[in-house]
């Protein structure tokens, strides 16, 4: 995971091109691969968007509607509570992203260059592999009126013999959603920042600047904000925008934690799409476009805010002030970090308790008895979803890793870094709200290939797996010492041989990490699985979300634990294997 995000275009020491007289098949495939990458990412997203535009304009031949009009938008506008829905989406998306970003910065600033930063990274990185649905289930249990917090203080402090009529989760202001999203996105942003710092040159440069600032008498936190952040931020921009886009349009968290009078816009859209009243699909499509506008607005707002902050603080960053109550901020950050980690540990332990709990009446702190029943009954029904989860993950990840490696090899063979355009395109499926383009994509898939849900789902997963795999592999690939390849080539090895026998073994560890990451991303996909599979393809995640909104909290806990265990196993394997194979590749 430490590879993380890397700047895709890298200037400077690009390896010298390996000149070839004649292009062999391998070289041709390699040089074609970036085009394929762009096609795979752009086509579905753009076509998906176009195909959601038509029904939004009331063009839906199945309902014998073939005249274009704005009825969908009028209906949308007249929906009771539409402004509240939009406001809730905007507020939860913006506030959670801002909170996650600020806390991540505070942790970085307070623990920069200290051993604690790595410890916090180790504690938080498992959160990254927890799917949103599982995290929402865990958080929900913690903050519910009958949740772990209430049990810890009841009845001795509160006198509650029965759960009180509380406010969380499902509070009307979306605080529960903000809490869940913040906790889930914080580790992501932190790891992205650490990934950027792990780049040898940038990391070295920033650490040097930081040391200089300290020597000049700047207090640590101030030194971070003045000397490190301005250079670090450009590396965080795309991940932040991806988080912002996700948070404003996600479905799982608001579905499990959010209010429903009214819910967020994205949840409403899903409900309209699935409503018995089929004409509601026109309104749903219009809503999907509104969601797109909202998310785009948020992104624009964030970019504007960046500029504003830059202008405002351009003076203060060179005003020579050495500290801004650093000692207090240090303490605040330490407390906040302990709070965040404590919250996560408590919610995870609650999840484990529920998975084994027999009768467990409020306000008892522990279950009356521990049973294996929930695991047994879940496992009897889990085989199909498990096989689906694993096979879809394997197919989409294998393809993503293969294509990424080819693209990176293309970059080295042609000695041309991928263009800015390409690096932006890689983020496209993360920046466009999936709810806006997935419906169109499903419609397209229906036309082109309605018989194989498996293929459709794997393809939809690929759109989300590919960016992460690419980002995870890019830095290691670009860091490969080009001399090995040069020596091999000068000894007459064909590019294909250099690729398979020289480069890939050196990349054994990063490739395994990328595979584990790709699998984790695929395992966690809810909306793409649900929509592209037409509900036919059940995975652990779709089952977990279906169960989370009802049935048994104990069964939900078992599924959430499964959701966490699967990617975790992947990462453990990825960490262990290099110790036994290709020792040179393990760093």
């Amino acid at each position: 995971m430490s590879q993380g995000f890397d700047k895709i275009t890298k200037k400077g020491d690009s390896p010298r091109p390996i000149m070839l007289e004649k292009k062999d098949l391998f070289t041709r495939i390699v040089s074609f691969s970036p085009k394929l990458l762009i096609l795979i990412l752009i086509l579905p997203v753009l076509c998906g968007l176009i195909c959601v535009l038509l029904p939004a304009l009331s063009w839906l031949p199945a309902l014998e509607k073939t005249t274009l009009n704005l009825q969908g938008f009028i209906d949308l506008w007249q929906t009771p509570g539409i402004t509240q829905m939009a406001a809730l989406s905007l507020a939860t998306g913006l506030i959670s992203t801002l909170l996650a970003f600020v806390i991540a910065l505070m942790i970085l600033a307070a623990f920069f260059n200290s051993v604690w930063l790595q410890r916090i990274e180790h504690l938080l990185s498992p959160i990254l592999v927890i799917p949103h649905a599982a995290a929402a289930i865990a958080v929900g249990f913690l903050i519910a009126p009958s949740g772990m917090f209430a049990r810890l203080i009841s009845p001795w402090l509160t006198g509650w013999e029965m759960a009180p009529d509380g406010m969380f989760p499902h509070d009307p202001y979306g605080i529960s959603i903000i809490l869940g999203l913040t906790l889930k996105e914080l580790p992501f942003l932190l790891l992205m920042a650490l990934g950027a710092l792990a780049q040898p040159e940038l990391g070295k440069k920033l650490r040097q600047q930081y040391t200089v600032a300290l020597n000049l008498g700047y207090y640590p936190i101030t030194a971070f904000f003045k000397a490190v952040l301005p250079l670090l931020y450009p590396f965080l921009r795309l991940p932040i925008l991806a988080v912002l886009a996700y948070a404003s349009a996600s479905v799982e968290m608001p579905l499990i934690l959010g209010p429903n009078t009214p819910p967020t816009l994205a949840v409403s859209i899903i409900q309209w799409f699935n409503d018995v009243d089929l004409t509601l699909r026109i309104k749903a499509s219009a809503g999907a476009l509104l969601q797109l506008v909202l998310t785009a607005g948020l992104v624009a707002f964030w970019l504007g805010g960046e500029k504003a902050i830059k202008t405002i603080f351009s003076v203060s960053s060179v005003n020579g002030k050495r500290h801004y109550a650093d000692a207090i901020w240090q303490k605040v950050t330490a407390m906040l970090t302990v709070g965040v980690i404590g919250f996560m540990l408590l919610s995870l332990s609650g999840l484990v308790l529920w998975a084994f709990a027999g009768f467990w009446r409020f306000p008892a702190m522990l279950p009356e008895q521990f049973v294996l029943l929930h695991f047994q009954s879940a496992f009897t029904q889990m085989s199909t979803p498990l096989v689906n989860t694993l096979s879809i993950g394997a197919v989409s990840t294998a393809f993503a890793v293969f294509l990424t490696l080819l693209c990176l090899e293309a970059e080295q063979l042609s000695a041309k870094p991928l263009s800015h355009f390409t690096s932006f395109i890689i983020y496209l499926p993360l920046l466009v709200p999936s709810i806006a383009f997935l419906f169109g994509l499903v419609w397209l898939q229906q036309l082109a290939n309605y018989q194989s849900e498996f293929f459709n789902v794997a393809f939809a997963h690929l759109l989300f797996v590919l960016p992460y795999v690419f980002l995870s592999l890019a830095s290691s690939y670009r860091r490969l010492d080009p001399r090995f390849a040069h020596v091999a080539a000068s000894l007459g090895a064909a590019p294909i041989k250099v690729f398979f026998q020289i480069k890939l073994p050196q990349l054994f560890a990063p490739i395994l990490i990328a595979i584990a990451l790709g699998l984790a991303i695929s395992f966690g996909q809810y909306l793409p699985t649900l929509l592209a599979g037409g509900g036919r393809i059940a995975t652990i995640t779709t089952e977990a979300v279906t169960l989370a909104n009802g049935a048994s909290r104990r069964t939900s806990a078992v599924y959430a634990i499964m959701q966490m265990a699967l990617p975790l196993i992947g990462f453990i394997v990825a960490w262990m294997l290099p110790k036994y194979f290709f020792r040179s590749g393990a760093r």
Partner: protein, 432 residues
């Protein structure tokens, strides 16, 4: 000169043809994974035997609500049975809402997929059925030809031919019957309300301890219909008018306000006494059950009475739970399975539907520890051996006592669902 000009074009053409080849290979691979098997049709066989011959050895994608592990386990048992009997591979596609299946079939219709649909069989009733039937999304005149359909005594048993008052026309095979059952936590409340009046008094005395699922949830709508029917019975008795008859007619612009205003008046006073002051509602009956387990609610209801003792046995509800039926009436309805018009395996789906109606499957389903869904079969049509399958053992303490449903209330016309839902959404869908 010409040749030189075409060269780059040729080059481009080769490139495009490579793209096309890759694409076609991908499509080819995915298409080859699905190959419908059609058995030879022997003209000498009876229609049912032909269906048996054609339907065996196929897949059946059964789209059914998947929110209850007990029901899921029962469907798993059904899958094993039809696998043994007909070598049918029954795949339960777990829906969180049946309307997802309706949308699916619609999407396929819009893509002109008229014979390779993904839904083979769907668990359905009420508004979803009305929608599918209006849009001609269902296969017609098959259910009444299933051999086991005779066991429901269709001539004397209207519940198997009407779905919320709408004739099924052989588009649905009856599968089970349900009536609204209430349950309460006996440690929190010793005397639960048994009429609508008592319920209103009870929630006023126990604020925040009752709620109902938000429409359009099926169970929430059922509760609202129960309230509506009861309010009109009471009002008609007081005023001597007969407004409740309107409930069996389609909702129109004229009668909607007349019929629904008493409901809104009641809910205006009722909601502030509910969980979260009626500003937040649970999404499903299962979520409501979980809140009872959390002791946030003390009273709840379900359409599937046996889910209550089963949940206690699974530790999902406390042991202090007791079930009962409202004494002023229990809303009752029948649920069905249907086959979409474009199902890929309609014959196999009929074999499954017929098996679902078999005494064996119905008796298993009625067993409280399995599912406890009331059978649609009429006992007098069954052989003594089959009747014996339905004998129950010692009931669980939290199960609905035998014969506790004193009076059943039938469902209003399905068009009221839409009217109630819209009115509810406009009034209570956005909390202040």
């Amino acid at each position: 000169m010409r040749v030189i000009a075409t060269l780059p074009m040729l080059k481009r053409l080769t490139r495009y043809s490579t793209y096309a080849m890759v694409m076609s290979i991908c499509i080819g691979i995915s298409a080859s994974t699905a190959s419908p098997t059609t058995a030879n049709v022997n003209q000498d066989l009876s229609p049912w035997q032909q269906i048996e011959a054609q339907g065996s050895n196929q897949d059946v994608y059964f789209y059914a609500w998947g929110g209850d592990p007990q029901i899921n386990a029962y469907l798993q048992w059904v899958a094993d049975q039809v696998d043994d009997k007909y070598n049918i591979n029954l795949v339960h596609v777990k829906l969180s809402d049946t309307s997802e299946a309706v949308s699916r079939v619609l999407a396929e219709k819009s893509a002109h997929n008229d014979d390779q649909g993904s839904v083979d069989l769907v668990w359905i009733n009420g508004a979803n059925f009305a929608t599918m039937s209006e849009n001609s999304l269902l296969l017609k005149q098959w259910a009444n030809k299933l051999p086991n359909f005779a066991l429901t005594d269709p001539d004397n048993n209207p519940i198997v031919n009407f779905d919320f008052g709408v004739p099924t026309n052989g588009m649905e095979a009856p599968w089970g019957q349900a009536s609204l059952t209430f349950y309460y936590d006996s440690l929190s409340t010793s005397k639960p309300p048994t009429t609508l009046n008592e319920l209103a008094t009870w929630t006023a005395q126990n604020p925040g301890r009752f709620s109902y699922p938000k429409p359009p949830d099926f169970l929430g709508m059922s509760f609202l219909k129960y309230v509506l029917v009861m309010l009109h019975e009471r009002q008609d008795a007081q005023t001597g008018k007969d407004i409740s008859a309107q409930l069996n007619l389609p909702a129109t612009e004229e009668n909607t306000a007349l019929v629904l205003d008493p409901l809104w008046e009641f809910l205006d006073n009722f909601h502030p006494t509910l969980w979260r002051n009626g500003e937040q509602f649970v999404q499903t009956g299962a979520q409501m059950r979980r809140l009872v387990d959390d002791t946030e609610l003390s009273l709840a209801f379900t359409f599937s009475a046996p889910e209550v003792p089963a949940a206690v046995q699974r530790y999902d509800l406390p042991q202090s739970i007791r079930s009962y039926a409202m004494s002023d009436g229990s809303l009752s309805n029948t649920h069905f399975v249907a086959i979409p018009y474009n199902a890929s395996h309609p014959q196999a789906a009929q074999l499954v539907a017929n098996f679902l109606m078999s005494p064996e499957a119905q008796a298993k389903k009625q067993t409280p520890s399995v599912w406890g869904d009331k059978s649609v079969l009429v006992q007098s049509t069954l052989s003594p051996a089959h009747q014996a399958l339905f004998k129950t053992k010692q009931p669980h303490p939290s199960a609905l006592p035998f014969d506790s449903v004193k009076r059943t209330v039938s469902e209003p016309h399905p068009s009221w669902v839409e009217a109630i839902q819209q009115g509810w959404q406009a009034r209570y869908g956005v909390s202040p």
